[in-house]
Point group: C2
Chain length 389, copies 2
Amino acid sequence: MDTRDLMRGAPPRPKAQVTLANWRDAPFNRWGFRNVRQVLPTARIRRAPRAWDLAAGAEPVDRIAVPGHGTFGDVLAATYTDACVVLHRGRRVFERYDDGMAEDDRHILFSVTKSVAATLAGALVASGALDPDAPVPHYIPEVQGSAYGGATVRHVLDMSVGIRFVEDYTDTTGDFARYREATAWNPVTDPARASDLRTFLLTLKPEGRHGEAFHYVSPNTDLLGWILERASGERFATLLERHLWVPMGAEFEADIAVDRLGAARAAGGLCATARDLARFGQMVLQHGVAEGCQVIPAAWIDDIRANGDAAAWARGSKWMPGGRYRSKWYVLPGARGAFCGIGIHGQWLYLDPAAAIVIAKFSSDPAASADAKDDLHVAAFDAVARTFG
Amino acid sequence: MDTRDLMRGAPPRPKAQVTLANWRDAPFNRWGFRNVRQVLPTARIRRAPRAWDLAAGAEPVDRIAVPGHGTFGDVLAATYTDACVVLHRGRRVFERYDDGMAEDDRHILFSVTKSVAATLAGALVASGALDPDAPVPHYIPEVQGSAYGGATVRHVLDMSVGIRFVEDYTDTTGDFARYREATAWNPVTDPARASDLRTFLLTLKPEGRHGEAFHYVSPNTDLLGWILERASGERFATLLERHLWVPMGAEFEADIAVDRLGAARAAGGLCATARDLARFGQMVLQHGVAEGCQVIPAAWIDDIRANGDAAAWARGSKWMPGGRYRSKWYVLPGARGAFCGIGIHGQWLYLDPAAAIVIAKFSSDPAASADAKDDLHVAAFDAVARTFG
């Protein structure tokens, strides 16, 4: 099927119907990922009154060779790319939209949302509202007795909470399925059992020691969003708007998925344009500065690049030996200092400080996650970065 | 409770929680009506690249006397007003936002959406895509056997379809409750029975003669939305964007509620800013012209003002004797030529050609509908209009 036929027709043919039951499955995800607000309740994040101007200056980025995989353009074509924006020193040197996506279409970031949420945390640290070393119950007393009762905000930021949870995107009956229903990302199968995100988080049980190993658990980041709300007294969407979207000069509004009680999906529900995601990356690359305005403290960004527990990463991840994970950013091994946010189905925000390169990429890969695909993306982005410096 | 506390807190206190189950009930509607997208799936309607500039020029409109009811300001306060914009000759002479509503907040129009949808129909008539005198099955063959099988588009536009349906906003078990579930405006009580809007429309049965009497049936307008989609091959949100929002110079995006299969709630799901609703009204007042651009054919607007079956109105409505209903606008009796769109819970778009006045008003009245409230609004708007000419 031509995915441009998805949701065409009134009603769309059954095979072209994108619904709450299939929006993350191929080929429906091609429409679902850029129309999340038509499937889920979402909150609005306002744009800046004046956009941060990113000068255009096209370069033949798609012709850059990626050893063993043809060109960068070939990699984009092979990885279900919906949009890709490459900035070099803040100039838009490459911008491509595929499969009918428009430059003002907002695409779901999935777990790149986590990197955004933890960067936002830096703004609350700067204002004194948030202490990353405080115990989680300092902000949310209700977590006593759950996995988070003995954890600190830092454990939550670095994904080293000792918690019993299996992050299995294909699960239909266990923890992850229960999580999906609580977030309202899947249809309610039993209205009497319908939960909400925050209530679900309190049900998660401890397992192992905090701080010991990298353990990727998406609900930890929803919890981070809740912590930010409690620390500030504001809703997550409002925080994103006030501390990131407006001061960084976002050109377009963004959306964030919310549950039945308005809890934002800080772990994966942000939907933004590729250009605004690239802007966010450029601000991070510039140590938190956007157009002369210190949006996020430089110390918070520098901490991400310098720190992160390499031993905890080694204990918890088979992928990317020698890497680290800090404040919900992946820090790659090697002298270039590259770091990135990664979301399932091929969402990326890749920063290479050595070359002053930012790459934002949205995709609709049928598979949620695969190490080989991640390796391919990193190799392709690295090839682009090395070409520029 | 201070309604500004609605949805404050993480989670909000139970009494401050606005959900799919209560968003149209007071006091929850105060938050719900301006945050529909956080409760329901919605589609996006883009704004114009450049907004139609409405010069500001404040006048003491709130001090205008409304015989028997104090001042216009008193009427606004007594009718749960969230926003009110008054234009005189296209100048913003009065603009007020209450209860924390912001000028860029989008508020649900409820049935003022109908007037917008039928005005949009005029654009498709002009392009040759729609014939108002064609039988409905010409566009939607599936309606054969339903109430719409023998009706024309004109019957649908003028609410004179012979149909068995009780428009009872408080109904919890009959036609209207079934309608609410099909549109996904109420929680699903039985996932196995969950329907969609278009399937629901096909279940409505004929009763009486078409064209005989005014019979207000909201689903007729959802059907009009479906007809426009079939006639054009485009989705309703796209049509609104292309034929109204962009050419009329909308300053802000708008949202429209959609059902499980993307069917737009053409009968009541549009959410827009007060200023953009006023712009739409000004365009209609100017015989379809916005900033020199003929957005809607003058003949379509003139037909609304000149025609409409007074006898059909008299047979079907106790309210507003001597009035008419044409293409989903209410045409008031009297020499001033005033006409308006009306939505439940106090939504109004009132046009007085004699004084070149446009009044857009959003409210969160606890009651869906009451003739006395409608009379009060008309009296207040008429008092404002007479002050200006």
